[in-house]
Amino acid sequence: MSTRYSAALPVAELVLRVLVVLNWASGAAILAVLTATFVATDWTLTALGITPASGIPQMLPGLQAIAVLGLAAIPLNHVVLGRLLDFVKSVRDDPFVPANARRLKAIAWSLLGLQVISLIVAGIGKAIATPENPLDLDAGFSTTGWLAVLLAFVLAGVFAQGTKMREDLDGTV
């Protein structure tokens, strides 16, 4: 492997490891707050500074649905980050192995799932938002996001083909 990769790989590995931990931590935080809104609704709303007059308690079921979708995104995020971490580790030896084609496909499907969740969250947000309480969610149709899905599927196909070509080349003198 050329030296220009050697500096990027450890950095990429470290960043991905941190993101994996942050992903699960944010999942735990979402779960904690969501659970609190069910088991101790009044206390939780008060702790969050939400008054009954604000109109937000009426939005609570929708917000809880959004939180549940947020939780559904956590394992999908983990698939993307975890498979990418395994991919980066494989670059040291030989990236053109069948496992990497499978990893890229798993990443592509997970990215697709995340985009679908984003669309649903945006739909719910639009449905429950009021002029007094507009919701500014980082969700909805994202050209970049959908292009990333397409790119991941194409790369998975490229790696599958590259693996076959590498197998053909193995043992060639």
């Binding site: 053909d168 193995d170 043992g171 060639t172 003198v173």
Partner: protein, 76 residues
């Protein structure tokens, strides 16, 4: 693999070692050993050309197909 490589015979005839041949044709000794022991899956024409040039032989002198099947079961 049915294709055999008669590298040993040709090297002996030319009084050349495998290491010397590897140096002359610019491939690693490891890869040349793989070829010698008929473990290679494929050979590039450029490699074949270089070996024949250094050993002053034809590809047919270097490569031989060994029919592993007994004569009684040979297909017609």
């Amino acid at each position: 693999m049915a294709i055999g490589v008669r590298l040993d015979d040709l090297l002996y005839a030319r009084r050349m070692t495998l290491t010397e041949l590897a140096d002359r044709i610019g491939i690693t000794l490891a890869n040349l050993s793989i070829l010698k022991t008929s473990k290679a899956r494929a050979i590039r024409f450029s490699t074949l050309d270089a070996i024949c040039r250094e050993l002053n032989c034809q590809p047919g002198d270097l490569l031989v197909r060994r029919d592993d099947e007994p004569a009684a079961t040979a297909k017609t």
